[in-house]
Amino acid sequence: MQVLKIATAGSVDDGKSTLIGRLLYDTKSLTDDKLEAIEKSSQKKGYDYLDFSMATDGLMAEREQGITIDVAHIYWATKNKSYIIADTPGHIEYTRNMVTGASTSQMAIILVDARHGVVEQTKRHFYINALLRIKDVVVAINKMDLVDYSEDKYEEIKAEILKISKSNAYQNQKLTFIPLSALKGDNVVDFSDKMPWYKGETLLSHLESIEVGAVFEKSQARFPVQTVIRPKSEKFHDYRGYAGKLYGGALAVGDKVTVLPSGTSSTIEKIQFYNQTYDIANAGDSIAISLTDDVNVSRGDMIVKYNELPNTSKTVEATICWMDQTPLDLTSKYILQHGVHQVLAKVTALKSLVKPDLSMEEKAIENLKINQIGQVSFKLNQAIYSDNYADNKQNGAFVLIDVKTNTTAGVGFIG
């Protein structure tokens, strides 16, 4: 079955959790016991409607405060597709959660409160979705019930958003505007009779129409080695398999390859998956590769086609989204984890900062604080073998790990 991963974004109280709850409810994905729990806690809070946000706000603190603190993953399925929705918090201080949710998603739903229209955060949501190159974005103009289902209001917001998206760097994004009310269920799963002027799809019918798995399409084959499998058993005495997951493209038996960093050439002898061998593996496949020559390969090395080499470099330029309370320190070393490859990194230049209203601040910046986004240059103690994020998402991103606390402090998009 196809799995469509969706990220959501919206400001506090735009109704993300309610929208997800409504999707689950109207597609009959909520089981009786979960529904009962929602009814119970809605009653307890004195609501005269079902509080669907209870379906997704999992932590006790979230339920108490009625807000989403951390990314929750929600799973449901229709006859056609499985869905995984990352419910990401809307507070400005939680930008990191949005990046987290969007990093594994193929599409995004951005909520806008029809009463308030485009707010500063909406711009940021668009910016992050463009930065991560999310191809399909649904703009869900929510709470239409509170603006009398006004077509004018909808058109006004739509025009403003189209204006914002024009200034985004990523122009291949497909925007779909849907006026809805998550609370009342208008245009979520069922068509609303309150907005006869709207001739588009409901949210669900749009989701059902999206084609899964366009992420890897045109990228070149990148095979980062996770671990080397050497059974040392009698039966498999000479077996040596390089285990990893293929990022982009395809690899086939007989392909001439180069192993990085050594630059050694060899040929793919065997593609193993469990107890079977195959001729061709595709992007996303976790396999083990054997080569015709006895070459030295270890974790962090990368196998690529000899005529499709990535950038091998000891410097890197990237857009960094900072995710840690401790700001990016220009004087300390970080572990840069690029896929499964870890190297040491140090900042050489902090060039510009993306301000919340998306204008660039070019003056000298001293550091990068949590939820800030900036252009940063690094030097590395060892080369990495990367692509621009625009060409290969998996091989164009990295994380920065704080060596003192071990926490994942930032994420970078190369290029």
């Binding site: 799995v3 089981t31 009786d32 729990a37 997704t56 706000d57 999992g58 932590l59 006790m60 603190a61 339920r63 603190i69 951390d70 990314v71 929750a72 993953h73 929600i74 799973y75 399925a77 499985s82 995984i84 990191r96 959660n97 990046v99 987290t100 996770q226 671990t227 499998i229 050497r230 059974p231 058993s233 498999f236 285990a243 990893g244 997951k245 193993q272 469990y274 107890n275 079977q276 061998t277 195959y278 061709i280 593996a281 595709n282 996303g284 496949d285 976790s286 083990a288 995710m323 984890q337 896929g339 499964v340 998996q394 991103a397 990295f398 994380v399 790990i401 071990n406 994942t408 994420v411």
Partner: protein, 300 residues
């Protein structure tokens, strides 16, 4: 005809996670309960390292309240695959007075497992404990990371979790900390069942319809085993045809009426079900935040 590989994306993701565990940690262990999720983990681990053997042991925390069918299955599986199986008994901690057993109508050893688990982690120095928890199971688990860092006390700091972006897993920890790893985080109950069906994986007999002596309490069906399950005189024992959807302790896992004797029929039943899997787990019904509370204390 070229043999073209087309791996199920969930399976591929899980295999990737297993390989990261082995590459990033010194002493991983697989927490094995004998339930369908941990059995699925074992198959995925086989696939991740084939033709080598699974490079870590299995650890089972035996509450003494397990279904005997599960224990038998556990021993058989470990033997067939030639894996080291470590078993630690909750009973030992009770005997030594380290933990106090609950009493009364809903008495369960579920909470006591945590202590035994933490002791075993310390005894062996395990730095990564692989478990079969899934995000779709329960609302606190929906917030879980794939690599989830625990401190010396096994505690989960739910408000301060490391971000996980793309598929990059950061397993850096300090001495004394350990990581709980959840390779099937993104699977649903149905995904697991369909996988068991497609892969033709053997599972304990209690997952299939069978005759069992049971009694009814709070609208749920309990195993009548007076040694480990508290039952009042008034709660009459009747033989019913049932199966289990999830396997925990006898004292906290309820059965469902079922005629599903094959895996295909089990899958059909799950597809038609209007109750969630953990709806039959009394340990989650204690309070709204029951799972979160337990997780903070070091539960699986």
């Amino acid at each position: 005809m070229k043999r073209k590989l087309n791996i199920n994306p969930l399976e591929s993701e899980s295999i990737y996670i297993f390989r990261e565990v082995v590459a990033q940690f010194e002493k991983p262990v697989l927490l094995f309960s004998g339930g369908k999720d941990s059995i699925t983990l074992v198959r995925l681990a086989q696939k991740a390292f084939y033709p080598a053997k699974i490079p870590f042991p299995l650890l089972h925390i035996d509450t003494g309240h397990n279904f005997p069918e599960t224990i038998e299955f556990r021993d058989k599986l470990a033997k067939e695959l030639g894996l080291e199986l470590i078993v630690r008994q909750v009973q030992d901690n009770i005997d030594q007075g380290k933990v106090k057993e609950e009493t009364g109508r809903y008495a369960s050893r579920n909470m006591l497992q945590t202590e035994t688990l933490l002791d075993a982690i310390e005894e062996y120095g395990f730095d990564a404990c692989i478990g079969g928890a899934r995000r779709d199971e329960e609302k606190a688990r929906a917030k879980e990371r794939i690599f989830s860092v625990r401190d010396d006390f096994g505690q989960w700091d739910e408000k301060n979790q490391r971000p996980e972006v793309f598929d990059m897993l950061n397993g850096k920890i300090e001495l004394g900390q350990n990581v709980r790893v959840f390779p099937i985080s993104n699977w649903t109950e149905l995904d697991v069942w369909q996988y068991i069906k497609t892969e033709d994986i053997e599972i304990p007999s209690i997952y299939f319809a069978h005759e069992r002596k049971t009694f009814i309490r709070d609208g749920m069906i309990w195993t009548a085993n007076d040694v480990v399950v508290f039952r009042e005189e008034s709660e009459a024992v009747t033989t019913r045809q049932v199966r289990f959807r999830t396997v925990g302790d006898m004292s906290c896992t309820a059965a469902v009426i079922s005629g599903a004797t094959t895996i295909a029929k089990v899958v059909e039943e799950i597809q038609a079900s209007t109750i969630s899997e953990r709806g039959a787990r009394i340990d989650d019904k204690r309070s709204e935040g029951a799972m979160e509370q337990r997780k903070k204390q070091g539960y699986f």
